[in-house]
Amino acid sequence: MICPRCEYDEAYKVFEGEDTIWEVFRCPRCNFNWRSTEGEEFTSPAKYNTRFKLSEKQIREMAPKPPIPPLKV
């Protein structure tokens, strides 16, 4: 499964609703979660809102919040 947001190809199903009425997927790289019933603009990598897409580079360059403090010795 390809993540609609960052297009990582190891996204996978984590859960399903009663009678499999929907399924929830997660991306282990960008942590995006989505439900199969949300509509193509949320589930399709080609149709996901470009303003909210994430690239590997963007993820690599993200600042930590809060910053990690130095270890106390």
């Binding site: 984590v14 609703g17 009663e18 929907w22 439900r35 809102n49 994430l54 993820i59 993200m62 930590p64």
Partner: protein, 471 residues
């Protein structure tokens, strides 16, 4: 009577016509967000209880529980038509009853079911995406409890945005100015996990105080008691040494993984804008305790104001800076910091002498809340209700003289989530002094205000009576 749980409060809201049950099956997306947005935007918006959510069995969702002045008044056990200014003064009065310490109980419904073998957030909660471009399913109204890991003291209860990322993983936003960030920093300096408990679906005062900017050493549970008028009940967590609200529906326990950050967000914030994606701390969940079903999952819709957050994080935001200012300047009458967490704020005051409005505005900017959040401050006289914008705009219209009463302070500290920033965390502060000039300032040329006829109050009642008959 103080409410012991969310269920108690929903029952009261229902008797007052301030809660609506949705019995039909709704979709997790987009139905819940759309209905919650609608409820918050209508006058006297009710709480919503969704009884059937597609795919989630008998699990229920509650939204907009604090989402109107009426619900806020009922939370405080005041008549539901109590105005905002009166609610503000009542809240100030009750803050002065602090501390009313919590009592520990040994049993509560939230201990009926204990899931400590592979707990799954997806299985236990009817999760849904709050806003379309949120990075996942958020717990937007849950209370996070933690302690200083060095001393085991200074227990804190706060509402932070929580993103469910996996069965047992939750992203947490611990911004540097949040109390939990102090606990996290100490734990990370020692490279040890920080134990946390997350209480979901609480009595309304618990959520109110968890979202109130108290001082670091102030005890949220003792403040809840002060607001409730009787001690709040807490029960020990399963692991670690935390007190959790005994009235909660469900408690998630776990630990923040030290010195690691993971992709989190975006999330639609109180500003009505999405925040950016960042790498943030993450909680590893190890036990969930809950009521036997059906569970009610309370969550919060945030979007373009007015939404529930503008009622929940509103009067409580005003009280702390008001009290800090009042200690120095007893002339201050009220503070309305309800617009985007105080980005726009209105101070009403009596005037000690000419120019005094500027003194008060600058004092506000030096309170802990005032340092960053406020960027547009209006000061009005005590004949103006700062919670009534018609009156405030009248004061600006007739009392404000731009050449003397406009103050601009560039390059000042600002909120980091203000979408209008040029440099994140830096803003320009504006003070609008809309008070009547008093000695030794030059008085207004036309200083005679038209009296409101004293019989107006009587007539207003009469007119309302006749109106009710005709309806």
């Amino acid at each position: 009577m103080p409410y012991r749980s969310l269920r108690d409060f929903i029952a009261r809201l229902e008797t007052e016509g301030q809660a609506v049950r949705i019995k039909e099956t709704v979709r997790p997306e987009p139905d819940i967000r759309a209905a919650a947005c609608a409820a918050a935007r209508m006058p006297a918006g009710p709480a919503l209880l969704f009884e059937r959510i597609e795919g989630y069995g008998d699990k229920q969702v509650a939204m907009n529980v604090h989402g109107s002045p009426q619900n806020h008044a009922l939370m405080l056990d005041l008549p539901k038509d109590t105005g905002m200014k009166a609610q503000f003064h009542e809240l100030v009065r009750r803050f002065d009853c602090y501390p009313v310490h919590p009592v520990k109980v040994s049993d509560a419904p939230l201990k009926e079911v204990i899931v400590d073998n592979k707990p799954s957030l997806y299985r236990e909660l009817p999760l849904f995406r709050v806003n379309p471009w949120d990075g996942g399913f958020y717990l937007s109204k849950a209370c996070v409890i933690s302690r200083d890991p060095e001393t085991g003291e200074n227990q804190n209860v706060g509402i932070y945005r929580l993103q469910v990322k996996d069965h047992d993983r939750i992203g947490i936003q611990a911004a540097a100015h949040h109390d939990i960030a102090v606990h996290l920093r100490k734990a990370e300096e020692l490279n040890i996990p920080l134990r946390v408990a997350i209480a979901v679906s609480n009595d309304p005062v618990t959520s109110l105080i968890a979202s109130t900017p108290l001082r670091y050493l102030e005890d949220e549970y003792a403040m809840m008691g002060a607001i409730r008028g009787e001690p709040t009940e807490v029960i020990p967590s399963e692991r670690g040494n935390l007190d959790v609200p005994a009235g909660a529906e469900l408690v998630i326990e776990g630990e923040i993984i030290p010195r690691m950050r993971f992709v989190e967000g975006p999330f639609a914030e109180f500003t009505g804008y999405y925040s950016t994606c960042m790498i943030q701390a993450e909680i590893k969940v190890d036990v969930i305790t809950r009521r036997r079903g059906p569970i009610i999952f309370e969550n919060l819709y945030s979007g373009v104001p007015w939404t529930e957050i503008d009622y929940l994080q509103a009067l409580n935001t005003c009280v702390a800076p008001f009290k800090q200012m009042k200690a120095d300047f007893p002339e201050i009458e009220a503070l309305n910091a309800t617009y985007c967490h105080g980005y726009c704020s209105i101070i009403s005051t009596r005037m000690r002498f000419g120019g005094f409005a500027k003194t008060l505005a600058l004092r506000y900017l030096s309170t802990p809340h005032g340092i960053t959040y406020p960027k547009f401050i209006i000061v009005v006289d005590d004949d103006i209700d700062p919670f009534d914008l018609q009156q405030v705009m009248w004061a600006i219209a007739v009392r404000f003289r731009a050449e003397r009463d406009l103050v601009v302070i560039p390059n000042a500290p600002g909120s980091t989530v203000d979408p209008a920033h040029l440099v994140r965390g830096i803003t320009t502060k504006v003070i609008i002094d809309a008070t009547k000039p008093v000695f030794p300032d030059i008085p207004l040329a036309d200083a005679s205000i038209v009296d409101i006829p004293p019989e107006t109050v009587i007539w207003a009642e009469e007119i309302m009576k006749r109106r009710k008959v005709s309806i």
